[in-house]
Amino acid sequence: MEELILLDALGAGGPYHSRSRQTITELTGAPVAELSLVPRLFVQRTMAALREARTSPPHDRAAALARAGRLFATGTVNGIAAEEYQHIVSRVSGMPITVVRSATAGIGRRAGEAYRTTRHARPQGAVDDWRDPLTCDGHAVWTRRGDVFAVHAAGNHPGVHTLWLEALALGYRVAVRPSRREPFTPHRLITALRESGFGEDQVVLLPTDYAVADDIIRDADLAMVYGGEEVVNKYGNDVRVLPQGPGRSKILLTGDDWESHLGTIVDSVSAFGGTACVNTTAVFVEGDPAPVAEAVAERLAAIPSLPPEDDGAVLPVQPAEDARAIEKYLLDHVDGATPVLGGDGVVDELGDGSGVLRPAVFRVDRPDAPQTGIELSFPCVWFAPWSRADGIEPLRNTLVLTAITEDDGLIDRLVEDPSIRNVYLGDTPTYRMPAWVPHDAYLGEFLMRTKGVIRT
């Protein structure tokens, strides 16, 4: 990369090349891009412009979203072809290129579906427009809770940028604060949206430093914030903010037949390089978890260490120093767990300043061991014994729980538990996310409300 890519802020008045910029480096530390950082004043003026803007009609939005999706996934945006974009994201984030490719296609597809997807969230009793004949008798109309939606995005996987497309589809004006780790995806997506019909005052990209980030939320009506426990703690009580907290996805395996589910477990741990919130981080086994853990470890151990841009790459890569820090964190938290794979370290240095994070498998001796709550951004899984006497407590606080069980009573309790946000049954990997299945409830439930309308 001879010339740095310039990632401007995308404000309500067009791209803004700021004086304050941050260098984005790839895995070896080589600079790849410069990201414009905007000050508080720019943020507040942009948010005010979003508030004053008018939303275009629903079908125009749906059509523009579909066009933008195609452009994002296959076209040249900001002078960068799709393949080049994928290569950059892979080299910057360390995510396997095949994961980036499928994420690119996924974003393109989800943009096209965004408008239709929002329909799943609409209450059955509601209509979309006060003009609907049903309101003559009195009816619920589905309306926005606000006009401006802010997103503090994450950089762990390009796919985090599919969800807020639904807000655009619903007529919100959207402000995205990109992750410092990977601003390329939202920059490309928002540029594509603007080239496809969305006005500059409809969707904006506001890269800022930490101190200003909260202003974006303050000046929005509603916001969605990605982060770990600390984000949930910070915003948990703010009804305007939807935290997208840790995933801690789990698998529960009952009965004797674990061999036929081995592939699902391995895939659930390692898909997307293990970087997503829907990756399995704990497996609870009725009976002895040791043979299952060993079989999973054996499969995971066979995955080769490759640079992320290699078509065969499966594992995530980080700058060696960052990878070592993650490794140290892991080893500092083993705390009596039995290592099955990766007990003496997980970093495999590639010699160019970067290191592959190889899978880790550990066994703990009881289902409530605190390690089962540790979620790291590479394939890392904790196996725990479980019996019906332990109940569902160890399975709680979970984004996706795959339960491989025939026990309908148990399934009832899992489905009823509010802290388990998705229950998948049978041989279903935790990472499966069809557009019509809510990820963490439908976003529409947060963005919309019903309003009574009676025409007399």
Binding site: S18, R19, S20, Q22, L37, V38, P39, R40, L41, F42, Q44, R45, A48, A154, G155, N156, H157, V160, R180, R181, D209, Y210, A211, A213, Y226, G227, G228, E229, E230, V231, Q244, P246, G247, T275, A276, C277, N279, A325, I326, Y329, I374, E375, L376, S377
Partner: protein, 364 residues
């Protein structure tokens, strides 16, 4: 020339650097004229300033005694040479960011000198010849609001003021009560609105964070554009992007000038007048009285022109001596105008800070 002739030279003259430094050392370290504080402190310096401090560079030999100003009796800071008639204009204190406040005494003759210089600066920047001033910033023990009062009075205006207690704001933030700081700041903006709406204010003096806050209210932006001829900002750094937006979009018809000052140098300095497309804020010093050095954070050596370093401030006048005070600001070292001692500074501000996301656990 006699010591006092040099130190008391007419307001419109500038003494020669080395001659001035030597005279100041004679004054501050002679038993008859020096302050009790410096005469006592001189015993532990390990050198005799009257013999060994002769040039601007020699000022760096002094230890940084700024911290001692937290405890010194203010009477002990007044040079004995003034006799019993030293006219104290006021005692001013630092913001207390780094502990208990530091305290300085401002004497009448220094004020006259500073105000003469400031008035020249205001003239050069085209500030309105008359009209009132609004100071939205620290008053109380801080020199910020007082400087505005004196400037306004010199130009025939009244200073309106909205009081801001920076120590309370810092305490709120340090204790995690950001919401309280937020409410307090909005309260200050409400107070300024009353003045802007009802009074003939022509000059606004405030800090960059408060100016950004003012800009959040469209009605106030309109009022300022209609009434205010010049905005002085100071007390905190202004990043170049904010400055650009303020000048081009928010207050396009208003003169916008920065000041860089500190209670510890007993004053503030106006931004150098440059052409608008230079897009840079440079502060020249009030040499030989207020001077700067820009030094490497590690070695303490002066950096090259154009490089960034930490700002060292010096105040040397008849009324007060505080050399070699290392401030926490970073700045780009700029060549001074001809005849000035030390450095000019540009792009003053804290180290750029980014969201370093040290969190390891989690996937986001």
């Amino acid at each position: 020339m006699a010591t006092e002739q040099i130190l008391d030279c007419p307001l419109d003259q500038v003494p020669e650097g080395p001659e001035f430094i030597e005279a100041a050392m004679r004054w501050h370290f002679s038993p008859e004229t020096g302050s009790p504080y410096w005469l006592e402190r001189a015993k532990t310096l390990g050198f005799d300033p009257r013999e060994e401090v002769r040039t601007f560079d020699d000022l760096r030999r002094f230890p940084n005694v700024a911290n001692e100003l937290r405890d010194v009796r203010v009477e002990d800071l007044i040079p004995r040479g003034y006799g019993p008639d030293a006219e104290v204009v006021g005692v001013y204190e630092s913001g207390g960011t780094t502990g208990p406040p530091k305290r300085v005494v401002v004497l009448r003759d220094w004020l006259e000198r500073l105000m003469h210089r400031t008035e020249q600066d205001l003239q050069a920047r085209g500030y309105p010849e008359s009209g009132h001033w609004l100071s939205l910033g620290p008053t109380g023990p801080h020199v910020f609001g007082e400087l505005v009062r004196w400037q306004a009075a010199r130009r025939g205006g009244i200073r309106f003021t909205v009081d801001m207690d920076p120590r309370w704001v810092k305490r709120c933030i340090a204790e995690g009560r950001a919401e309280e700081a937020e409410r307090y700041a909005e309260h200050l903006i409400d107070q300024s609105a009353y003045i802007l709406e009802t009074q003939d204010v022509r000059v606004l003096v405030t800090t960059p964070p408060l100016l950004t806050r003012l800009a959040r209210r469209n009605a106030l932006v309109d009022l300022i554009n209609a009434k205010i001829a010049a905005i002085s900002w100071g007390g905190a750094h202004m990043d170049p992007d904010t400055r650009y937006l303020l000048r081009t979009e928010v207050f396009p018809g208003v003169k916008l000038y920065g000041t860089y000052g500190s209670t510890m140098i007993l004053g503030g300095l106006g931004e150098r007048v440059t052409s608008p497309d230079e897009d840079i804020v440079i502060f020249d010093t009030f040499s030989p009285y207020i001077t700067f050095s820009v030094v490497d954070q590690e070695t303490g050596e002066v950096v090259r022109y154009g490089d960034r370093g930490q700002v060292v401030m010096h105040h040397v006048s008849k009324s007060f001596l505080l050399p070699n005070n290392l401030e926490r600001d970073l700045a780009t070292r700029v060549a001074p105008p001809p005849g000035q001692m030390g450095d000019s500074v540009a792009e003053v501000g804290p180290l750029p800070t980014f969201d370093n996301e040290p969190v390891i656990e989690g996937v986001y």
